[in-house]
Amino acid sequence: MSSSVNLGDVTGVHKNPINVVQLLGRAFDARPALWSVASLALLFSAWEIAGLIPISIAFPTFSATVAAFVEMVLDGTMAHAYFLTLQPLILGIAISAVFGIVIGVVMGLSQKAEWLMAPVFIVLQAAPMAALVPLVTFVYGIGLTAKTLAVIMLALPVIVLNSYKAVRHANPSLIAMCCSFQGTRLQQIVKIIIPDASPVMFAGLRLGIAAGFIGVMLAELLITPTGVGDLITYHRSVANYAHMYAAVASIIVVSTVTLAGLQRFELRFLRPEKRKR
């Protein structure tokens, strides 16, 4: 673990202070990733200390949380929980991404579509979705459909509105350029507007996925406890706070990793000019 490595370095300071400090400095210069490791180590140390005080009887230490996490990974409950949680999440995000981008692009291109749909999505985005999620159960019950719908309700508006704004704000100079070389409307859309809009559309997709994670957690906490939501609910109800925090932290980690991965994917495949050479 990273923190133990740093601890080793720190104890070395007493023997030969200057060298070790210089060595550390050089290491940090050479590998900027060490800063992230150091910041995480700091966060986790603070967590550990806060858990030891403790700031609340329901707040476990970092080490207890990690132990609980390892335990749940080893006995398979974590894998099973994610198997259940990822179903509505992936389904909902896939549907939101496809429909969201299509609807957003159409709204960006057509004034009529904008008039027709923009208010709906603006209202949906502004609405406190957590309050609406329970309503879904009245219509769609408590199964996968309702949970997928909860994900869509949160993810779709932000994806639609970002795609729409991206298309609407496509660089007018590039559009004029395409016109001046007699590009057809279709060429204009495919070759100029969508590539130009893609960074903002991707930002929308990232926000949508983040919202989708919120949606699936809301669904699993408010509709019926399944998957990760069940781990959180159950361990809270029996006061296994380390396990509860491990489940909460795991979904944060999964969400962060997913978003970072998406950013990498975008840079790697869609924005060749942003890639480092």
């Binding site: 004029a176 350029m177 001046s180 007699q182 000019e273």
Partner: protein, 268 residues
């Protein structure tokens, strides 16, 4: 085809020219309440470089975009090779003030973009684009992206793109305004050399008097609010001389002074 059409064009040619490729007849443009252009009549001679010069707000870019077919005139008409302009056409190519390069595409793809839109095969458009990349002095940069180039180099990409579609008329909207002074002079010299080779008609918008005099066969001075033709000047400059000699020649300096006198009244 242009020959056949041209035969019935010269009906009411007001401003005369031996062989006008672009004719502007009574063009006015009004934006909401603002009158940008009033009753412009102009001919642009084939194979010549004509500059539209004037202070900001004189509508010179508007006129250029009307000729390009990018914006419609409120009244009057523009003919290119005798045909009334209703939109952009293959006989005209535009060079944008802000370059209008696709940031996600390489120099090669940007230069070949006009050909790509026309459905030219990849191999052919690569060949043509390469030829113009070399001509504008960007050989070796074809796989770079716009953000890796300087402002001057980016505009060379824009010019190569306009050349690549082999249009009769090139419309340049303040192409050097975003280029620093040092590169600007070099650029102007390169442009003159290209004009020499390519034998095309150029319509050039600028607000720099020196630039206009240095590169133009004819200078059209526009007055502001609303834009009208105030003066047409044909500088009599020996282009065969070296760039430095041209910039020191009395004819050059006199013309600059003459235009400055004409525009002084509009200076703030």
């Amino acid at each position: 085809m242009p020959q056949a059409v041209r035969s019935h064009v010269h009906i009411d040619a007001a401003a005369t020219s031996d062989d006008p490729v672009v004719e502007v007849r009574g063009v006015s443009k009004t934006y909401a309440d603002v009158e940008a252009l009033r009753n412009i009549d102009l001919d642009f001679a084939r194979g010549k470089l004509t500059t539209l010069l004037g202070p900001s707000g004189c509508g010179k870019t508007t006129l250029l975009k009307i000729i390009a077919g990018l914006i419609p005139a409120s009244s009057g008409e523009v003919r290119v090779n005798g045909r009334v302009v209703t939109g952009p056409g293959p006989e005209r190519a535009f060079v944008f003030q802000d370059f209008a390069l696709m940031p996600w595409a390489t120099v090669m793809r940007n230069v070949a973009f006009g050909l790509e839109l026309r459905g030219v095969s990849p191999a052919e458009r690569r060949r043509v684009a390469m030829q113009y990349i070399e001509k504008v002095g960007l050989a070796g940069f074809e796989d770079k992206y716009p953000h890796e180039l300087s402002g001057g180099m980016r505009q060379r990409v824009g010019i190569a793109r306009a050349f690549a579609v082999n249009a009769d008329v090139l419309l340049l909207d303040e192409p050097f305004s975003a280029v620093d002074e040092q590169n600007r002079r070099k650029f102007q010299e390169d442009l003159l050399r290209l004009i020499e080779i390519e034998k095309k008609t150029f319509i050039f918008v600028t607000h720099s008097i020196e630039e206009a005099v240095y590169v133009s066969d004819r200078i059209v001075l526009l007055s502001p609010r609303p834009g009208r033709v105030s003066q047409v000047i044909d500088p009599d400059i020996d282009r065969s001389a070296s760039p430095d000699d041209i910039r020191r020649a009395p004819a050059y300096l006199d013309t600059v002074e003459e235009i400055w006198d004409g525009l002084r009244q509009y200076a703030d």
